[in-house]
Each structure stands twice: as structure tokens, then as C-alpha cells.
């Protein structure tokens, strides 16, 4: 059974090897003149505005959670779509119920105003 994982192991070794070699070449061959400009924080070419560890609006959290719900729905839909010819009507019904429940949640969040920013 473990034989099946040999390619994965080889792939991991190659990936780690390439990463180490690229970093190592840069470290060994590069001249590395460090000056304040190079060591300062880089933000799209201009001065950094403020500390990045600031408070941010709790509504981002709500949006993120709502996003994850519907993102996970896709994770269920893909394997379902691929095996649809085997699971047949039963699978179709089960997914219909699942989507229906999600729609109920969607109506709830919409009506409660969770999708409005202000």
C-alpha cells in the first residue's frame, strides 16, 4: 500500500531540494549589501503608512464566515457532480436538500442585513 506514496515522497524531495538550492545559491553567490532602504518595510513602492498590527472592522469577520460557508458548498458540489451518474436520484435529492438549507440561511442573512456594510 505504501508503494503508492513513493511518487509523493519523490515529489516532496525534489520540491524541497529545488527550494534549498535556489535559496542557497542566492545566499552563497549574492553580494548582499545591506542598507536601510533594503531593510525597510516594502509597501508597493511608497512609505509604509502605519503599523500593520491594527484593529480592523469586525464586519470583515462576518463577511469571511459567510464566504467560507458558500466556499465549502463548492467543495461538496465538485465530488457530487463527478459521481452523479453513480449516486443517481438519491444523490440529487440529498444535494437538493443541502442547497435548500443553505438557501434558507442565505435568505436569513440577507433579510437580517448581514450583507450590508453600513
Amino acid at each position: 500500500m505504501l508503494n503508492n506514496y513513493l511518487p509523493v515522497l519523490l515529489f516532496l524531495m525534489v520540491a524541497v531540494g529545488i527550494g534549498l538550492i535556489l535559496l542557497g545559491i542566492g545566499f552563497l553567490v549574492g553580494r548582499g549589501q545591506k542598507d536601510p532602504e533594503k531593510l525597510s518595510a516594502y509597501e508597493c513602492g511608497f512609505e509604509a503608512f502605519e503599523d500593520s498590527r491594527m484593529k480592523f472592522d469586525v464586519r470583515y469577520y462576518l463577511v469571511a464566515i459567510l464566504f467560507i460557508v458558500f466556499d465549502l458548498e463548492i467543495a461538496f458540489l465538485f465530488p457530487w457532480a463527478i459521481s452523479l451518474d453513480e449516486i443517481g436520484l438519491y444523490g440529487l435529492g440529498a444535494m437538493a436538500i443541502f442547497l435548500l438549507v443553505l438557501v434558507v440561511g442565505f435568505i436569513y442573512e440577507w433579510k437580517k442585513g448581514a450583507l450590508e456594510w453600513d
Binding site: 438519491y90 434558507v104 433579510k111
Partner: protein
């Protein structure tokens, strides 16, 4: 295929009905005005009645396995499900005036409460690790949200946070134990697990490790020492209507959890889990009863009292005998009756705006409301275990099962701890009858609240005088 689906769905009809009903309730509540909010309450009660009826009739009289053996409907499931639906109906009824006075009377309370009930029903009928875990998560997530239901309350937020973090760890522990057992036995199904354990030659270490993790998770959800830290904080910090909810129906899910996962699935490993359950029970009886004496907040006191009662329930299961398990189920139903009544009285006294969660709020209750002082007296006496109340009979059959199983010392210890516990229940009675509260206002509450609260307290007496009917329901549970 089609016939199989129909019979499967028929076995889980209570759960299916409740799940569909919750969706309808959620949408219905969105589109009605605030002054019609009573309709949400009425619809929730209708759903509970329907669920209770469907649960009582599901699976005929016998034991039915559905969905490839991952769901079971047996007498145990029927008794506990009906009891849970009834408990939830009582919770909703007590909560309505309390929530309304605090501007918390919103549909979400009912939706989350019903989701918790759905989780409870799924756990009770679970016959596979996955189903039980799904039910447990559904119950827990609804409870986390309910604890912070009054979101402007700092103490509520604190206890909700503690409950959430500790509960997540406990769920992880339980799941880890399940995955270890699954990894070695190769089955999620409890029936197959039982056969696998029966065919074993000696007990492998991995099974013990998995069992240990599972028992830790169960003990946490049950609130048994040393996994009890969340119980007092949550009971005290949550809105009283939510403490009432947490103190009642979920206990029925916990007893189902321990019976399904341990007593039914792994009878072969009795010697091992017996020791663990007995240790948990002894510690719970000791810590629960002694620490409760030091409390001045009655919600906190009832939390420690709940821990002590969990000790008794675990003692019943730990015997491993049919009589012991049935006694534990009987005990937990009687406990739920008494706890619902005690929190009901707190909410009755609170319904004039201020919270009555201090012991001192019970001073002189016998002058302000002789009737409800008497009801509280009955409930406290039932929790102590004074004959002829239900608590006495429940303790009696647990002790009897213990002695029959040969654990005489444990029975003696349990009796001793009950005597210690009597102190703090009697203190409530003393405050009500022998102390005075100058300027106390008479108790006011709606008629249905008074009526059901009286029936609830009198039930603690009636079940003690006539334990026969409930005892009949609790025999032959494991088929």
C-alpha cells in the same frame, strides 16, 4: 432502494420533521413584526409537540436500525427523546416572560433552542461515531450561541468565550479518541465495533487510549470532575433562561452519549471503563457537593449541584448492569424535572426586572408567596433525596444497583456525599422560611407560567409517590 429509503426516513421522522420545521420557523420569524413575536413562540411549541409525538411513535415498539446501521431507534431513544422535547417545551414556556422583560424576546432564541434539541435527538439515536459527533456539534454550537444571547452582558460574553474554547477542546478530544478507535477497528458503526471488541484476544493498548480520550470528551460534555470547570461559569454567566436550557435537555443527551458509546458499544471493556467512570463519579460527588456549600449565587450553587448529580448518574452507568443503566436513565429524568423547576423558581422571582440569582433573594419567600416557597421546598427536598420525593427513589435505585454489583463502598460514599449535599439545599429552605426580606414585593407572573411551574414541582412529588409508570418506561430500555 425506494422501500429502504422510506423505512429509513420513517425511523428518523422526528428529526426530519424538526429540521424542516426549524427552517420554516426561521423564515417565518423574519417576516413578522415585533408585536406578533408570540406567533414564533406558538409555532415553536407546535413543533415541539409534533416532534415529541413523532419521536414517541417512531420505530414501533422494538429496535430498528436505519441508514445502514448508523441510526438506531430503540426504547431508550423513544423515552429520552420525548423527555427532551417535553423539557424544551417547559424551558420555552418559563423563558417567555423573562425574555420579554429584558427585550430579549426574539425568534433566534427559539431557533437556537430547537437546533439544540435537534442535536440532542441525533445524539440519542446515533449508532455511529460520525452521527453522534455531528449531533454533539449541532448541540454544542447552538449552546455556545445561546450563552452569549444577551450580547451586551460582559459576564455572558466571558462565560460564552470560556465555554466555546473549552468545548472545542473537548470536541477535539472526543473526536481524537473516536479516530484512534476507528483507525484500529476499521469501523465507525457501534454495532460492528461491539462485534470487533468481542472477537478480540486480550485488550490492545490502542483501544484503551482511544477509549480514554472518548471518555474525557464525554465527561466534559457531561460536566464531570475534573472536566467541570466550565459548568459554574456558564450557569452563572448565561442568561437565566439559557442556564435553564443547558441544565435540562442536554443532560439527557449526555446520558445517551455515555450509554451509546461506552455501555452499549464496548461491554467487553467493562473492567476498564468501569474504573474510569467510577473515578469520575467519586470526584464529581466530592467536589460538587463540597464546593456548592461555599456558593452565594444560586445559579452557581445549582451548577455544582448538577456536577454532584452527574456523579450519581455516572455511578449508575459504571455498574455496567442493565439495572444500573436503567437507574441512571431514571435518575437523569428525575434530575431534569427538579432542575427545570428550580431554575423556573429563579426566573419567577426575577421577573420583576432585577435578577434573583443570589441566595439572599430567597429570604422570606414563604411570606411573599407561600405557594411557590412550598414548591421550591419540594424541589430542594427532591434534590436532597428525602422520601417520598422523586429524588429519593432515583437515588435508591442507583444505590441498589451499586450494591447488587458489589460496590458497597461506593454506595456508602454516595450516601455520605448526599448528606453533605443536604446542607446547601436545606440552607435555601431555611432562607425561605426562617429569614425575612424587608420590603419584598409579592411575586407576579403570568398564569401559564405559575400553572406549569406548580405542575413541574408537584411532579417531583408525584414521581416519588408513584414511580411505577416512569420506572416501567425505563425498564427494558436496552432491548
Amino acid at each position: 432502494m425506494m422501500n429502504e429509503l422510506v423505512s429509513d426516513l420513517s425511523a428518523v421522522r422526528a428529526e426530519a420533521f424538526l429540521a424542516a420545521g426549524i427552517c420554516v420557523l426561521l423564515l417565518f420569524d423574519l417576516f413578522i413584526r415585533d408585536r406578533h413575536r408570540d406567533l414564533t413562540y406558538a409555532l415553536a411549541m407546535l413543533l415541539l409537540a409534533g416532534t415529541g409525538w413523532l419521536a414517541a411513535t417512531a420505530g414501533g415498539d422494538g429496535r430498528v436500525l436505519a441508514f445502514g446501521g448508523s441510526v438506531v431507534v430503540d426504547p431508550l431513544a423513544r423515552v429520552l427523546k420525548v423527555a427532551a422535547a417535553l423539557a424544551m417545551a417547559v424551558v420555552f414556556l418559563y423563558s417567555r416572560p423573562w425574555l420579554r422583560e429584558r427585550q430579549l424576546f426574539r425568534g433566534e432564541y427559539y431557533v437556537l433552542g430547537l437546533f439544540a434539541l435537534l442535536g440532542i435527538l441525533v445524539i440519542i439515536s446515533g449508532h455511529s461515531f460520525l452521527v453522534i459527533y455531528l449531533g454533539l456539534e449541532m448541540l454544542s454550537l447552538a449552546l455556545y450561541a445561546l450563552v452569549v444571547y444577551d450580547r451586551d452582558s460582559p459576564i455572558g460574553a466571558e462565560s460564552g468565550m470560556k465555554y466555546f474554547v473549552l468545548g472545542a477542546i473537548a470536541s477535539g478530544t472526543l473526536l481524537y479518541g473516536m479516530s484512534i478507535v476507528y483507525g484500529f477497528s476499521g469501523t465507525l458503526n457501534l454495532g460492528e465495533l461491539r462485534e470487533y471488541a468481542a472477537g478480540l484476544d486480550g485488550v490492545p493498548v490502542f483501544l484503551l487510549v482511544g477509549l480514554g480520550f472518548m471518555l474525557s470528551g464525554i465527561a466534559f460534555k457531561f460536566g464531570a470532575v475534573p472536566f467541570h470547570m466550565w459548568v459554574p461559569d456558564v450557569y452563572q454567566g448565561a442568561p437565566t433562561s439559557v442556564s435553564l436550557l443547558i441544565a435540562t435537555a442536554p443532560k439527557l443527551a449526555s446520558i445517551a452519549l455515555v450509554i451509546r458509546l461506552v455501555a452499549e458499544a464496548l461491554p467487553e471493556l467493562l473492567v476498564t471503563w468501569q474504573v474510569i467512570l467510577m473515578t469520575l463519579a467519586v470526584l464529581s460527588l466530592l467536589i460538587g457537593n463540597i464546593v456548592a456549600i461555599a456558593q452565594t449565587n444560586i445559579k452557581r450553587m445549582l451548577a455544582y449541584s448538577a456536577i454532584a448529580h452527574v456523579g450519581f448518574i455516572l455511578l449508575g452507568v459504571a455498574t455496567g448492569t442493565t439495572a444500573g443503566v436503567e437507574a441512571a436513565v431514571f435518575y437523569s429524568i428525575v434530575y431534569v424535572v427538579a432542575a427545570a423547576g428550580a431554575f423556573g423558581i429563579i426566573m419567577l422571582l426575577s421577573s420583576r426586572g432585577a435578577e434573583a440569582d443570589q441566595l439572599d433573594d430567597f429570604r422570606g419567600l414563604s411570606q411573599r408567596s407561600p405557594w411557590f416557597a412550598l414548591m421550591m421546598l419540594l424541589l430542594m427536598a427532591s434534590m436532597i433525596g428525602i422520601p417520598p420525593l422523586a429524588g429519593f427513589y432515583a437515588k435508591w435505585i442507583v444505590l441498589l444497583a451499586l450494591v447488587e454489583a458489589g460496590a458497597v463502598w461506593l454506595a456508602l460514599f454516595a450516601v455520605l456525599m448526599s448528606v453533605v449535599g443536604a446542607f446547601y439545599y436545606l440552607r435555601v429552605i431555611r432562607l425561605m422560611y426562617f429569614d425575612e426580606l424587608p420590603g419584598g414585593a409579592p411575586v407576579q407572573a403570568p398564569g401559564d407560567f405559575r400553572l406549569v411551574l406548580s405542575i413541574n414541582a408537584l411532579l417531583a412529588l408525584a414521581l416519588g409517590l408513584f414511580p411505577g409508570p416512569l420506572m416501567d418506561l425505563c425498564t427494558g430500555l436496552l432491548g
